[in-house]
């Protein structure tokens, strides 16, 4: 049935359930791409045990008895934090947050540009460059996202 002056057309046709799944996946990917980094606020490094602390003090006592320099009781490590369950340790979250604050203070434009890709982690407001704030017309047959 060709050669009679008619025209051929090609169309994408998938089952509806598959089309819906594809659209939901893409939509979820779009939403997740606006998710900023999630810091870990738990302990990263275990604190010194009491026996280790006692050993440090013993070294000071020994050095002092022989007239050698000591730490003078000064602590090199900060005071550890006690977490739920009694775990004693140090979290890197303060270091991380200080680094982010430094970035915002020293390079505010870069920080703003960075944040524009994500939601505000406190208010949940979408950043200006998140896909949700830049809608485009979907080209699939149904013409819109399904499943929401």
């Amino acid at each position: 049935m060709s050669g009679g002056g008619g025209s051929s057309t090609t169309e994408a046709t998938v089952p509806k359930f598959l089309e819906t799944g594809y659209q939901q996946g893409i939509g979820m990917g779009r939403d997740l791409s606006a998710m900023p980094y999630t810091p870990f606020y738990g302990p990263d490094v275990a604190a010194m045990s009491p026996l280790e602390q006692a050993s440090f003090q013993g070294s000071d006592v020994m050095a002092s008895a022989f007239g050698m320099p000591t730490t003078g009781g000064q602590q090199y490590l900060p005071a550890p934090t006690q977490f739920e369950g009694g775990a004693m340790g140090y979290s890197s979250a303060p270091i991380f947050e200080q680094a982010v604050s430094e970035l915002e203070a020293r390079r505010p434009a870069q920080a703003d540009y960075y944040n524009s890709f994500f939601i505000d982690p406190v208010t949940g407001e979408m950043g200006s460059r998140t896909p949700a704030r830049q809608p485009v017309a979907l080209e699939m047959q149904s013409g819109g996202r399904r499943g929401k």
Binding site: M1, S2, G3, G4, G5, G6, S7, S8, T9, T10, E11, A12, T13, V14, Y22, G25, I26, M28, G29, R30, L32, S33, A34, P36, Y37, P39, F40, D44, V45, M48, E52, S55, F56, S59, D60, M62, A63, S64, A65, F66, G67, M68, P69, T70, G72, G73, Q74, Y76, L77, Y90, S92, P94, I95, F96, A99, V100, Y114, F117, F118, P131
Partner: protein, 262 residues
């Protein structure tokens, strides 16, 4: 960050070790240059009688004793002469030649006796003085000999004491060197332990910093991660282009179809 040393401690182990080492070296060097005192031969002067003044050994009353003896002999001679005169008178020969000869002989005997007595007494006095002087000379010689022996013995004892003292000092120096080494070891052990514990604490701090850096790396990589998530979602969508084909008939198609039915 290091605190001050204990002010009550006079010297730390390294100062102790250094001081002990220096003292040991100095004493050992002294021992290397040690020269024992020399022993001087001791001599003594033997006494001799020759040239000795014998006056102190003679009887100071010798002359009086001899003179007294002479007087005794003279008295005895006078008595004998008187007796001879009396005998000559009884024999009515007094003043005669025989009396004269007898008197002469008697006088000769007495004179001889006086000479012999004086000589004997003087000789005896000399011998006695000589004997006493000899005893003193012998005593003086013995004293000199004893003193020389004592001096030689003192020298030997001083030498032995000097060597013993040097040996004691060298032994003490050796012990001090050992103690110095021990002090150095103490210092090193303490320092090593401090270093080990310090490194342990610094490693913990480094681990904490690394964890913060790792979080920051996650933070800075979040846009790329979001993009990857988005692209990853789309990568599962198949390319449906050309999956279904359709055909729209044209004017000729309809003519041809009508011709077939005609």
């Amino acid at each position: 960050m290091a605190g001050g040393a204990n002010p009550q401690m006079a010297a730390n182990p390294y100062q102790q070790a250094s001081g002990a080492q220096q003292a040991a070296l100095a004493t050992t060097q002294q021992g290397l240059g040690f020269t024992p005192m020399g022993i001087t031969p001791e001599s003594y002067q033997a006494g001799q009688i020759a040239g000795t003044n014998l006056s102190p050994y003679t009887n100071p009353y010798e002359t009086q004793v001899v003179q007294q003896s002479m007087r005794d002999i003279g008295t005895q001679a006078q008595l004998g002469m008187n007796q001879l005169d009396a005998q000559a008178q009884q024999a009515r020969a007094f003043g005669g030649s025989r009396h004269g000869v007898a008197m002469g002989e008697a006088m000769k005997g007495y004179t001889q006796q006086m000479a012999d007595t004086a000589t004997r007494m003087r000789q005896q006095g000399y011998n006695t003085a000589l004997g006493l002087a000899g005893q003193d000379v012998a005593a003086q010689t013995a004293a000199n000999q004893y003193a020389a022996g004592q001096r030689a013995s003192a020298q030997s004892q001083n030498l032995a004491a000097q060597q013993a003292a040097m040996g004691t000092r060298l032994g003490a120096a050796q012990q001090m060197a050992g103690l110095g080494g021990q002090s150095f070891g103490y210092g090193q052990a303490i320092q090593q332990q401090q270093m080990q514990q310090g490194q342990q604490q610094r490693q913990m701090m480094q681990d904490l910093i690394n964890a913060g850096k790792q979080q920051y790396a996650g933070y800075t990589g979040a846009p790329q991660q979001g993009l990857a998530t988005f692209l990853g979602a789309m990568s599962g969508v198949p390319n449906l282009q050309g999956q279904q084909q359709g055909y729209n008939a044209g004017f000729l198609d309809y003519l041809m179809a009508a011709g077939q039915f005609a």
